[in-house]
Amino acid sequence: MSKADGTATATPVPPRAGDPEITPEVVADHGLSEDEYARVCSVMGREPTFTELGVFSAMWSEHCGYKNSKRLLRLLPTRAPWVIQGPGENAGVIDVGDGYALAFKIESHNHPSAVEPYQGSATGVGGILRDIFTMGARPVAVLDSLRFGDLDSGRVRYLFDGVVKGVGDYGNCVGIPNIGGEVVFDRGYEGNPIVNAMCLGLMKREELITAAASGVGNPLMAVGARTGRDGIHGATFASEELSEDADESSRPQVQVGDPFTEKLLLEASLELIASGAISAIQDMGAAGITSSASEMAGRGGSGVEMEMTDVPVREDGMTPYEILLSESQERMLVVAEKGREGEVHRILEKWELEAAVIGRVTDDGMFRVLENGKVVADIPALPLTDGCPTYEREGVESAEIIGLRDMDLSEHLIPEGDLSKSLLLLLGSPNVASKQWIYHQYDTTVRTSTAVRPGGDAGVVRIRGTQRAVAATTDCNGRFVYLQPKTGAMAAVAEAARNLVCVGAMPTAITNNLNFGNPLKAHIYYQLREAVLGMRDACAAFETPVTGGNVSLFNETDGKAIYPTPVIGMVGVIDDVDRITPNAFRNEGDDIVLLGENTGEIGGSEYLYVTAALVAGEPPSVDLEGEKRLQQAMLSLTHEGLVTAAHDCSQGGLACTLAEMALGDGEEPFGVEAGIDDELRPVVSLFGEAQGRIVLSCNPASTGAVLASAERYAVPARKIGTVLGADRGFTLKVRDASVSASLAEMTEAYFQAIPKIMDVSPTAES
């Protein structure tokens, strides 16, 4: 009879020769509190062995066990008719029509990237690709969401350069196009870069496979790269703060990525799944074999037994503890159908990959590990995967942040010098400036399906053989979340949705990456809780459920936390690839129309950061209902075929948005003449980052129809200007003030900002 219902109990296991004794210090080193250790002992019915302690420590780390976030995550909406797979699997899956399903997920590699930017980011991409193809989907696009300190630091330039290279080299080699992402430079991320990678995969609905170990007696196989000593205890490590000496102590944790093996693994995995010779497959990601095997057992309601000496290793003398916790990359755990191991071997042999049977599925509910036939770990699987204690903590807003939010900013609203200078300053700020320096290092066109490359409001990949396409974007303004976590998180979701509707995609679902500081601190827990609540409300309003995500806490250096950064990765569907809207002007003579209204906030803006080095003030408010109508209006305008270009108004405000639409990719810029006549101060009109706004262009003959259509959705809309020839330059008037610049100076500021800083040998000076 199966004891997989949680009634399984551990048998006594003698200590393994050579393993350290378990002392309170050893327990503490494994990141378990006294209470948690007591819980381990009660689950086990005895004290754990050293190997068992290692297993618990990994599975009950924040990274795998979501101790501090699980209760909050339960608040998020996860259902919709089009959701096929919600949170809990390797990736979420939604129905995108015509029999196709889209798997997608985002994941962080913040800590590894802080230590070794190139390998850290590369292996981050590798991990997220595996999460997608283990669902049976073929990866079709990657996005990367990055945060660094200010680029005036040599160390930051080194990190930025290395991270971009790592993201690029890995995805380029495997052959998955990058279709977008974001990057923010702000001193709030100085010691703790954020590296989040998102992947999208397509499959036919019936190709979906999940990772639940089933079929008693089915063999468990380790596939792909050999297991080495790298990254042991990465999961625990990812759940701790970095300290001054982190560089030294964490060196052995570096994992080296091998995108070539990944490509073979990708092809082999999809072939294995199609063959039917396997019943489950999972990436050996964080916490390696431990988490993949125990999670498979947990989900399948079964048990597993594994022999460590059968695991192909890269180094001699590895202990079961090391093998179980190694985070060597490009490895998979596969449950083969009994009797079809030969077929599995044949497929792997074709792809020149190694595979070994390392155990089998059992029905006793235990996670059992043997070494030369002797049991070295015997743990009830269910409590291991699901029994991690979860906490609901006290959250209190920090007085310091309240102070910043309430700061009187009026003195900063009088521009120093003229407004035209401010425009060039903002266009030349790395946060607003063109990101070509990044994505020109990424293959964006491989697979010949990229309809909108990075540089658009959202990336778009068509579904070959149909008229459809999927779109994706990542967004989060951490300054807004810092100043006001709940609205900030709503703004992140709203901006993502706006980016999607601008290209013509219907927003359908999100994945998210909660990048926060140490949740044991009340003010950080407050940020986390409020941000989750904001995300919940926005996702509910837009009907974009959460199908998965990742939590990265403890992003602190020497006690200083990053801005709370809940990165939203949103996907959408386009039914007709012939109705994709670009974000740059296309035709001279087109009218320029603004949808939405400036609500007047300047708090948290790039303007304040650039001109006053300030992150303060009340960030923009979010009107979810108004946003929803704006999205509907925009989609309707696209369906009616009225729009020639559309761009979401975000960092740098209306002035920068118009400038970006005028400059495009630099190939064929246009002039602009526009004017706004709101009652706000000029700085706020031009550079305020109020939400809920989209700038679009249309043929003058359609302007009436555009305005009428917007009115049907009760969305404020008005013509604000005209697209001109490039020789006419850029002019934007606000009542009696105005900004004007030549396209040449704008081009220089916008396109050269990042290259000027980075192409001067990034490793020079530190």
């Binding site: 190139y118 570096v254 091998d258 530190s766």
Partner: protein, 88 residues
């Protein structure tokens, strides 16, 4: 001051995966060199340098390794004056 030619070798740290070495190893084996048991790939960097003495040239190169040439997290390095044998 005299002119020195230094040879810097930068090598992946033991224990770290060396995908490049692995691929070459695999290829050599399939080309018939069965006796190949392991391959690791590093860089050989040749630096022509003006210095007071051989010692100070070597010391400078070591400093270059620490600052620029080697990644302290993933690589070890060794510096030597170029040997005649190696110069061929």
């Amino acid at each position: 001051m005299s002119q020195y030619r230094l040879e810097v070798r930068v090598k992946p740290r033991p224990g770290l995966l060396d995908p490049q070495g692995k691929a070459i190893h695999h290829s050599l084996n399939s080309l018939g060199w069965d006796g190949v048991a392991d391959v690791r790939v590093g860089k050989a960097i040749y630096i022509d340098l003006e210095a007071e003495s051989a010692e100070s040239a070597i010391a400078a190169a070591e400093e270059m390794c620490r600052k620029l040439l080697a990644n302290p997290v993933t690589e070890d390095f060794a510096v030597a004056l170029e040997q005649e044998a190696a110069a061929s």
